[in-house]
């Protein structure tokens, strides 16, 4: 009788524990997925020459045929008009990238590229380049609803990179929020 009571209490407490744990699990998942917590997407550093903002690497841009990936990050020092867009591009072929263009809506933003390094990652070449764009141009780009197209110009031909609408909608909302925050803090 006593044992049965003890077992019953143990079962109830275990079930309660499981319920609390499950609730916490879904609470954390929902907080992280649905609220737009931008703090984990950027860092800022206050200096004597303005504030240095860094938007963490973002992916989603891919070549339609080869599925080659493009990852970019943004660095911006508030005393400047332009920002640095560093990017990684992975390709099986040897490329000599000389410029990058971002087409958003009816506007085309072009920048020359500076090579940071070229490395090998698994079976692909890892091309790491740096480019400069005007802050206001990039701000305008990230307010657009339609997903943009990135074109990499190389001596071996151009590479077209596209992003899924759903990914762009999420990515542009976060980046636009960060860029707006930068403008307000200027």
């Amino acid at each position: 009788m006593v044992n049965n009571k003890k077992n019953g209490e143990m079962c109830v407490s275990t079930s309660l524990y499981c319920i609390v744990l499950t609730t916490l699990f879904f609470l954390i998942i929902s907080i992280n997925s649905f609220s737009q917590n931008i703090s984990k997407h950027y860092t800022s550093l206050r200096q004597s020459k303005g504030v240095l903002y860094y938007i963490l690497p973002q992916n989603g841009f891919k070549n339609k045929d080869t599925k080659n990936e493009f990852i970019y990050d943004i660095t911006y020092l508030t005393e400047n008009d332009s920002l640095i867009l560093n990017f990684s591009y992975f390709d099986k072929l040897i490329r000599e990238i000389d410029s990058i263009a971002i087409i958003g809506g009816d506007r085309k933003y072009i920048s020359l590229t500076n090579k940071i390094f070229i490395d090998i990652k698994r079976s692909k070449w890892h091309y790491r380049y740096s480019s400069n764009f005007l802050f206001n141009d990039i701000k305008t780009l990230f307010t657009q609803i339609n997903s943009p197209t990135i074109i990499l110009y190389s001596k071996q031909g151009l590479i077209e990179l596209k992003i899924k609408f759903k990914t762009w909608r999420k990515q542009s909302a976060i980046t636009n929020k960060i860029l707006t925050l930068i403008v307000y803090n200027k």
């Binding site: 524990y17 499981c18 954390i28 200096q47 020459k49 240095l52 660095t75 560093n86």
Partner: protein, 105 residues
Amino acid sequence: MRKIKFLTIAVVLAFLLSSCAMVKTPLVGMIYTDVKSPVAATSNTNSSKVGTSSATSVLGLFASGDASIDAAMKNSGITKIHHVDEHATSFLGIFSTYQVFVYGE
């Protein structure tokens, strides 16, 4: 039968709460960790570049990545370090990430 059921629940809970994929951080959260902390600072003034590198772990069974300062410096072409920060995230020890941020010129 009841004993087996209890044992199964105990094993599952022990597995969930054992923080199987531990990540380097000054503060550990058993359920959720999202902590930024310092690594090093130098006497160099001002930075115009930021570089990151990261490594991930799944279930504490698989871990890969290059979260070195060298990789972060290489990614953004930094030659002079201002300071280095780290960012650790972990969820129930199932999925953990470790990021290094290098600020410099």
